[in-house]
Each structure stands twice: as structure tokens, then as C-alpha cells.
Symmetry: C2
């Protein structure tokens, strides 16, 4: 049984690589003929980049497992799992879910790539709504393995299990978000760190560049292979209980100093924008994104080597 991908944009193409790389047959559909026409070349190009970092072996063998279909029905028929990756707007998510609902086998599960819309916002009225959930990737999913599996209140427990095991089987790292919550887990963690970063910048404690440096030359090193709980668990001789008892009051005091969250003002945004443009001009942003992607590939290759 194959994997179906609904939506062949940036996200759908990334997912196609994840599944096909792992040996799955992938059937891909996009409502746009232009997208359908160019997606194979896009994927082949990205696989070539991955090959340069020894992250895939045989590009053409992977390409052979990828079929672009002319209808959603053709892509979904007989699929064990559907990754829905249409653009991030509620009406579009509702429309595609309704279409998928009519085409779905009894045991098929649909994971939506949405980064911010809860599954309950676009599946409530579907007769088989228990088969739908969120499976939120980070871009590009073939380099950043975490996937947030977030069921709606009515998602079948076995559909959650299917999504988790499909993701694990293809080498992703699924996490279970047990109940719906704004931002799921990943963007909430990112959000609170950003909030403190913006506040420290706004109040003049440090430049944006120095705050970035604190993360990329400090906190981010351990966090690239152990998470925040394990970090503190290993940072006290007797483990996390000792750490929490000793340092809990300091952290609570820091939290209490930020009990009145303010939105990022336009004046503040302009200041951050101005500082960032000193380091990377608008014209250089695209090149810097390519550099970031190469660094992510090199890091993925490094981690793979460490973990095998």
C-alpha cells in the first residue's frame, strides 16, 4: 500500500522525499497543472543536493517510486496514509478534507501539514472525521525529522497510532500532542524564547546579533542532540529533581518578571529589521537561505554518523 500526498508545493514535495527515500511508493496530486508538471524536477534537484551530502544513495531509484497523478482520486485510491499539504487557509483545508473524506478507504488516515490550524477546525462535519488529524512537519521534513501528531477531540485512537507508526517507519521523529493547543508544542517553545529575545532587545540588554550568538554558540549546541529536560537532568549530579530544587526559584523569578506580555510593536520590528539587514542585506537573503539549507544537510549527515 502506498502513501498519497495531496498538494505538490514546497511542503508536499518535501514529504514526497521523506516517504520515497524510505522505500514507500508515493502518489502525488496537486490541483494546479503547473505544479504537477514541475514537481518531479523540483524533487530530483533536491535529491541531488541530498546525494552530495551522502543523505541518499540512488536518486533515480527514489524517483521511480514517485508517481504524479491526474486526479486526487487516483492518488488516494488504496493509500494507507494521506499527507495533506495544501496552503494554510481554513477554507482550503475544509475543501480538501471534504474531498478526501469521500475518497477515503476505511482504514486510511489523513495527516494535515498545517502548522497552526487545529484539526477540529476543518474536520468536524465529516462522516469519517475520526480518520483525520494534524501531522505538522518542519521544513524541509527530510532534514528536520520532528513531526507533531495532533489529533482532534474526535480522532480515533487507532488513527493516531497509524500516523505515529507511519512516521516512525520512514525515519521521522513523531511526537504526540495529546490535546489541541494553539501553536502545538514546537511553535509554543519557539514563541516563548522569541518573546524573551525580543524583550531583551527592546529593553537594550543586548543586540539581536548577541542574542543569536547566545543561542548558536551556547544553548543551541546541546539542544541539537538533547532536549531541554535532558539538558537539565544531566546538569546536576543527582539529576532533574536536584536541578529543579536548586534553580527553580531563579527561573520562576525570571518568569515573574515577564508576566505582562506585549505584542511586538512596529517600532520594535523596524529596529530588529534594521539590525538584521546590517548582517544580511535583502538581496543576500536568498543566498543565505541556501547556505542555511547546506548547513542543515551537513548537520543531518553529522547526526546520522553519530547515531549509527
Amino acid at each position: 500500500m502506498h502513501i498519497a500526498i495531496a498538494g505538490a508545493g514546497l511542503v508536499g514535495a518535501g514529504w514526497t522525499i521523506v516517504f520515497a527515500r524510505a522505500g514507500e511508493t508515493v502518489k502525488l496530486y496537486d490541483a494546479s497543472e503547473v505544479s504537477r508538471a514541475r514537481v518531479r524536477d523540483d524533487i530530483r534537484g533536491r535529491l541531488g543536493d541530498l546525494k552530495n551530502y551522502d543523505l541518499v544513495d540512488d536518486v533515480e531509484a527514489i524517483m521511480k517510486r514517485i508517481e504524479v497523478c491526474d486526479s486526487l482520486a487516483e492518488a488516494v485510491d488504496g493509500a494507507k496514509y494521506v499527507q495533506e499539504s495544501v496552503p494554510e487557509r481554513v477554507p482550503l483545508k475544509q475543501d480538501i478534507s471534504r474531498e478526501l473524506s469521500a475518497l477515503l478507504g476505511n482504514k486510511t488516515v489523513v495527516g494535515s501539514s498545517t502548522s497552526g490550524i487545529p484539526a477540529s477546525a476543518f474536520t468536524e462535519d465529516l462522516s469519517n472525521r475520526g480518520r483525520f488529524l494534524v501531522a505538522h512537519p518542519v521544513n524541509p521534513p527530510y532534514l528536520v525529522p520532528v513531526v507533531e501528531v495532533a489529533p482532534a477531540p474526535w480522532t480515533d485512537p487507532d488513527a493516531v497510532e497509524v500516523a505515529m507508526s507511519v512516521m516512525t517507519a520512514v525515519g521521522q521523529s513523531p511526537i504526540l500532542v495529546r490535546r489541541e493547543i494553539e501553536g502545538f508544542v514546537l511553535n509554543r517553545l519557539q514563541g516563548v524564547l522569541l518573546r524573551e529575545a525580543w524583550a531583551l532587545f527592546e529593553e537594550g540588554y543586548a543586540s539581536a546579533e548577541d542574542i543569536d550568538k547566545t543561542v548558536r554558540e551556547g544553548l543551541g549546541l546541546r539542544w541539537s542532540f538533547i532536549g531541554p529536560f535532558e539538558t537539565i537532568d544531566l546538569n546536576a549530579p543527582a539529576g532533574v529533581r536536584e536541578y529543579a530544587e536548586v534553580l527553580g526559584p531563579l527561573y520562576h523569578s525570571i518568569d515573574a518578571s515577564r508576566s505582562d506580555p506585549q505584542p511586538w510593536s512596529s517600532v520594535l520590528i523596524e529596529k530588529v529589521e534594521a539590525e538584521r539587514r546590517e548582517y544580511v542585506s535583502s538581496e543576500e537573503l536568498e543566498e543565505r537561505r541556501n547556505w542555511r539549507d547546506r548547513r542543515l544537510m551537513a548537520l543531518a549527515a553529522h547526526k546520522k554518523k553519530q547515531e549509527t
Copy 2:
């Protein structure tokens, strides 16, 4: 002119490696004769580990630049910079600062390794208090380059410059914390992320392991080579302004949902402790710390290769 290290524990030994590796002569003193007697072997052992990861070339050449002194005066006499690394208690910091104050050359600067005590708490009454500041490392500093340089209100601006340039010259990544603030920058950023992590765990949204996975297989990958501001700057076509305008309201809404920070309760701490011990038992913690240190070394070697 040489570097002096006051305190030859874990932190002082780590600093000694940073400076001696970079070609500086280091004079080291500790009030404890036991510490003085064993610190060279400790350092030699750690340099051997670094050599295994190609992070240093010639262990004995580095050892030759390290001198353990029998008095603080001998270590400090003629030093251009003193890294004070005595244990983290205010009276100890006050005592050592008073001693150093009496021994200090006019142009010498003293950086304290304290992770949480502001320089103003232990330097106020010194006649040459303008020469003192905080230079907070992460452990071990020879693998994690960030150093938070945090002056007291009365620290001389040129002392700040000396500290920043000494750190840069030996390959560390100093950041300037312009005014004193609890937790400086690094622990504030860590603190807010931990706070959200503990809250998500407490409310049952995700397991501690899944929250860790979200960071180590997700957020932490980019953060190991670009900071939070650059991450979002590269995540919208037109840069950080566009990102902030589109996603600012989501993040503000997440922040607003956490406006009543609670301390980590003992019940909560026990739950986290229990989950962590399922993954790493108390007996395995030490072995896991050694694994972490090897991973940090491998990551440092990886980053060095990428950046040269």
C-alpha cells in the same frame, strides 16, 4: 603578558584549556592544595579527549604553557586578564575580589565566571571596582564558546573592551550584556523555554520525552548554527519584518496564555524526575554525561569544519 585563573575546580580548569589552547601562558591558583595538586592531570586528561576529536594538536605543548602557582599573588602578578572561578557563593566572590583588588595591576581586568551573581554584588566597595565584571561561560567553555560579558554599573568601558577582545582573541564568542539583569541573557532564554516545557508537561499536552524530541529533532537543529532572530529572518521571503507582521499575533496570543507564571511544584518535579529515570537511571547518569560530552566534542569538530 599572561592570563591568571583564580580557582582550579571544574570551571577554572576548563578556562585554563581555553586560554592555553589558544597559545596564552596561564598561571593558575587555587586555595586548596588538593586542587592545585590534581589540576594538571585533570587538564591533561581533558586535552587527550579533545585530541581524539582533532580539537587540539599537541597536548604537551599546551601543558607547557600552564603553570600552577603556590599563591594568588604569584598567579596574578603581571597578568593582563584574570578569570575568577571560585564557587558560586556571594561571600566567596566578595573575598576573592577583595584579595584580587589588592594585587591587581592598573590595566588588569577581572572577569568572574559566576552564572547568576551580578558583579555589583561583590565589587561595590573595591577601590578599583571599575576593573571587575562578569564573564560567564557555559561548561565546558572549550566546547561551548559563548561568554556573557556583563559589567556592573561602575565597570570601566575600557575594561569591557579588554574582556571582549581577550575572549575573541582566544576563539570564544563573547556577547555583551549591557546592563545587569537576573539570569543574564542565556539563562533567561533557557528559563522561558523551560517554563513552557514544564507547563506543557504539567497540563498533559505532551510527555517530557516528546518535548525533548521537539527540540533535539526540530528547533535545536537550526539553533545550533543560527540564532532565533536569524531563524525567523530566513523564514519569510522578505525577512524578519514580514515574519513578525504575519506571525507576531500568534506568538502574542501564546504569550498571553502564560501570563500567570507558577513555580515548579514538588509534585510536578517528581513526575518529571520519574519520567526521566525511565530513560536514564540514576546509575546511568554519569555515563550519559560522558556521552553528552563526546557528542559536544563531535559537534564542535563538525562546526569547526563547516566554518573554515
